[in-house]
């Protein structure tokens, strides 16, 4: 990565014990940026900041700390910026102090965010908006005087002053449109900015000619007002994307950028990811994700691969097991021999597939640009007809004819069209935000409304990814008490599921409770030894006559007691059945495409009433399924969460991912939903359909406006006053119509208690990358 932290304050980490904290401390050191005055700037994301009191408590606590040069809290972005002296203190101390204050924080990688570039463009639009606003207000004042009857020298003076204001303003504020139009034309395409740029530049050019030659009509106010309105639409659109990006960045956990490498003499060193080579041995602690692909060399543990392969139940990893980057180590310490460098790892392969798949979606043309493809040639040929017709009528008066043709282009300039789409999208994004759904891009809303086939991933999408107990034979209260005690001492997902299942009853007190990675939990109780874990391991202590389930699974037994099998299933995500029913009723095809085993997929498909399902799908298989559906002419909505889903998320016509998914999945998806219920899918679709209806209405309104405006313009009756009124009236009508999206039936998910989308990323999220 591009962070320039280097080895700043590397000795600051010396005191940190060699544990999982060790790598976290190393991560922190790499996130800084050296400033000119020798201090290092760190930006922490602290999602729990929520009020003015938080600002003062953080700034008063961190500010006086030794070695802190500057601290400032940003309440809107929930960030803390700190400049510190690397010789005196380090980011670990700041992060610790923040956590002690009750604001768990993690550093934001400044290089990754490319924030500077984004900010520059943001304020460029805002400055353009300010300049256009200033110009149009002042020119309008002068124009009103002209329209009220200023004549002769006064009028000419006013026109010249208007020209002096308008020309630099158009050059400055119109850059966004000119650049985009030029880019489209150079690639042989037409977009909405082409007719806009043409109208603005022709209006300015013609008005300049009129002003210099003492003509009586100029359109400076029309040109600048047009810019002002259109820039409002642009700015709103950009703000929307900005807000979503911030939210998505906050959801993502700091990705592993390095690993603890064991050197020959048994020492452990933290190396950045790009310095790790095949053959090295990497130590992965419980609770960490694998940074690279590798084979287990030493150690025994349970590994959760659900984000990587879609397998719902943890697998046992022992010497010789091959594991992919992104798998989560659950219980024991694993020493892993690296088989691939990071840039050739499974994750990198998935990224490459994602990029290839995304190219397909690049062919999508936004509704506004589709409209422009029809609109621009139509209007431009009308202008040409008007010019020729007036040349004939006036007998060769090119000045009048040209004037009328240009006036036609000005009055038909798609001001309303330019606002018709972004305003609806911005309001749609706000509605989605209220429902806990983040939308990356306005075009995604258009694509979602078109989707006619819904493809779901299973693990983590239709299910929550955490196992749940569906059958448990433990009945005696004393056994339940022992099982609770064993389950409570382990962080394994199966133990947590059992604890939830046996939520009533006492907990026995045991001695020497120990977790054996890959096997289970064991402890001594008043009734003797008891075990909870893998069937074969538990059966060793159970009564000899106990019958083992040949398929294995989980079991519990006390010494010499009977063997109690525990069946694990998956917890179906809230609203999954309702969402699938609703999609069915709306006429969409639904199917499940999962990386899990056939038995698991079939069971879930049956419960949800989905008839089409495919199991054991690799990421490439998933893409192939989507490509096949596309070849049939279907527009696929793909909903998935894992690393293995990321290419499919990029390949689908439109895609959604839960916030609990992998970083790479969230990056690939068009929509990210932050609430637990899958009804977010139907809620988003409902909003998308209404937004699409409104966009169509807006196009209709803009068309109706042109039906009236074009004949007037062709008749040569357009004066600057008429143009100004007509254009602003049409824009206002379109914006008012779009505002209707804020009202109306709330989407189903809105009935759930609102949880701030930004607060979700606090710590419960697990993400791989």
């Amino acid at each position: 990565m591009t962070c320039c932290g280097g080895n700043i304050a590397a000795d600051g980490a010396a005191g940190v014990s060699a544990s999982a904290d060790f790598s976290r401390a190393e991560e922190l050191l790499h996130a800084g940026r050296e400033r000119d005055d020798g201090t290092v700037e760190y930006v922490f994301s602290a999602p729990d900041i929520h009020c003015g009191a938080c600002i003062s408590s953080i700034e008063r606590a961190i500010g006086p700390m030794h070695g802190i040069a500057y601290v400032r809290v940003n309440l809107s972005l929930r960030r803390v910026t700190v400049h510190l002296d690397p010789a005196v203190t380090g980011p670990v101390e700041v992060s610790g102090a923040l956590a002690a204050l009750g604001f768990p924080a993690r550093p934001v990688d400044l290089g990754d965010l490319d924030e500077l570039e984004r900010k520059r463009r943001d304020s460029e639009l805002l400055k353009s908006l300010a300049v256009a606003g200033f110009a149009s207000a002042n020119i309008m004042l002068l124009s009103v005087s002209v329209w009220s009857g200023a004549e002769g020298a006064t009028r000419d003076l006013f026109h010249l002053i208007s020209a002096l204001i308008a020309i630099p303003a158009v050059f400055y504020a119109g850059r966004v449109f000119f650049r985009s139009a030029w880019g489209a034309l150079r690639n042989g395409r037409v977009n909405m900015d082409v007719p806009i740029s043409l109208a603005i530049s022709l209006a300015t050019g013609m008005s300049l000619f009129e002003a210099l030659t003492g003509g009586d009509k100029t359109y400076f106010e029309a040109a600048t007002m047009l810019l002002f309105f259109l820039l409002i639409g642009r700015y709103l659109d950009q703000r929307m994307r900005e807000r979503v990006r911030t939210a998505v960045v906050q959801l993502s956990r700091l990705s592993a950028k390095g690993a603890n490498v064991l050197t020959g003499d048994g020492e452990m060193r933290y190396l950045p990811l790009d310095e790790i080579e095949p053959g090295m041995t990497v130590r992965v602690f419980a609770g960490e994700r694998l940074p690279v692909d590798g084979t287990v060399e030493n150690g025994l543990s349970d590994v959760d691969r659900s984000l990587v392969t879609g397998e719902s139940l943890p697998v046992t990893a022992e010497a010789g097991t091959a594991l992919e980057a992104g798998a989560m180590n659950l219980t024991g310490v694993l020493d892993i021999e690296v088989t691939n460098t990071a840039d050739k790892s499974f994750l990198a392969e998935v990224r490459a597939m994602m990029e290839a798949a995304e190219n397909g979606r690049g062919a999508y043309v936004r509704a506004a640009d589709r409209a422009a493809r029809l609109y621009a040639p139509f209007v431009h040929s009308l202008a040409a007809i008007a010019f020729v017709a007036w040349m004939v009528i006036t007998g060769g008066d090119w000045h009048t004819s040209l004037y009328i043709a240009i006036a036609l282009l000005i009055i038909t300039c798609p001001c309303a069209l330019g606002l018709a789409v972004p305003v609806v999208h911005v309001i749609g994004a706000t509605r989605l935000f209220e429902n806990g759904i983040l939308m990356k891009d306005g075009a995604a809303l258009e694509r979602l409304a078109e989707a006619d086939e819904a493809v779901f991933d299973k693990t983590g999408t239709l299910t929550t990814g955490t196992p749940t107990v569906i059958g448990c034979a433990i009945e005696r209260p004393s056994d339940i008490a022992i099982a609770r005690a064993l389950a409570a001492s382990s962080g394994h997902p199966a133990s947590r599921a059992l604890l939830t299942h046996l939520d009533a009853g006492a907990t026995a007190r045991g001695t020497d409770i120990a977790e054996h990675p890959g096997l289970g939990v064991e402890g001594g109780f008043s009734g003797g030894l008891a075990r909870l874990g893998r069937m074969a391991w538990v059966a060793e202590i159970a009564e000899p006559s106990a019958v083992q389930d040949p398929s294995g699974g989980l079991a519990f037994a006390t010494k010499g007691g009977s063997l109690h099998a525990i069946k694990l299933g998956e917890h179906v995500r809230d609203g999954a059945a309702a969402a699938i029913d609703a999609l069915h009723n709306a006429g969409l095809g639904t199917r499940i495409v999962s990386g899990d085993a056939a038995a698991q997929v079939a069971g879930l498909a049956d419960r949800l009433g989905v008839t089409e399902w495919h199991a054991d799908q690799s990421p490439a298989d998933k893409i192939a399924r989507i490509e096949a559906l596309r070849a049939e002419g279907k527009k696929v909505l793909f909903v998935g969460d894992g690393i293995n889903d990321a290419p499919a998320l990029a390949a689908g016509h439109v895609s959604m991912a839960p916030a609990s998914g992998s970083d790479v999945g969230r990056t690939a998806a068009d929509f990210v939903f932050t609430r637990d219920s899958l009804e977010a899918v139907t809620a988003a679709r409902g909003i998308a359909l209404r937004a699409q209806a409104l966009v169509k209405q807006n196009f209709g309104l803009a068309f109706a406006y042109n039906v009236i405006a074009v004949p007037i313009a062709m008749a040569g009756m357009v004066t600057p006053l008429v143009a100004a009124i007509a254009m602003s009236a049409s824009s206002i009508v379109v914006v008012l119509n779009s505002m209707r999206l804020t009202r109306g039936d709330p989407a189903p998910a809105a009935s759930r208690p609102a949880r701030s989308a930004l607060a979700v990323g606090t710590g419960s999220m697990e993400a791989a990358e």
């Binding site: 003015g52 600002i55 003062s56 809107s76 304020s123 400055k127 200033f134 002068l142 006064t154 002053i161």
Partner: protein
């Protein structure tokens, strides 16, 4: 007419002043944290 030669420059000057003030406030980062600014005004500065 002579009045206009005074009034128009004044009007434009005031407008430009406003525009300049806005761009200055934008560049000096006053729109970076609107929620924070609203909260900070209620803080008592003890020192």
């Amino acid at each position: 007419m002579t009045l206009l030669t005074v009034l128009i420059p004044i009007a434009l000057f005031l407008g430009l002043l406003g525009l300049g003030a806005f761009i200055w406030s934008l560049n000096s980062g006053q729109y970076e944290d609107l929620d924070g600014a609203a909260a900070r005004i209620l803080e008592d500065d003890e020192d």
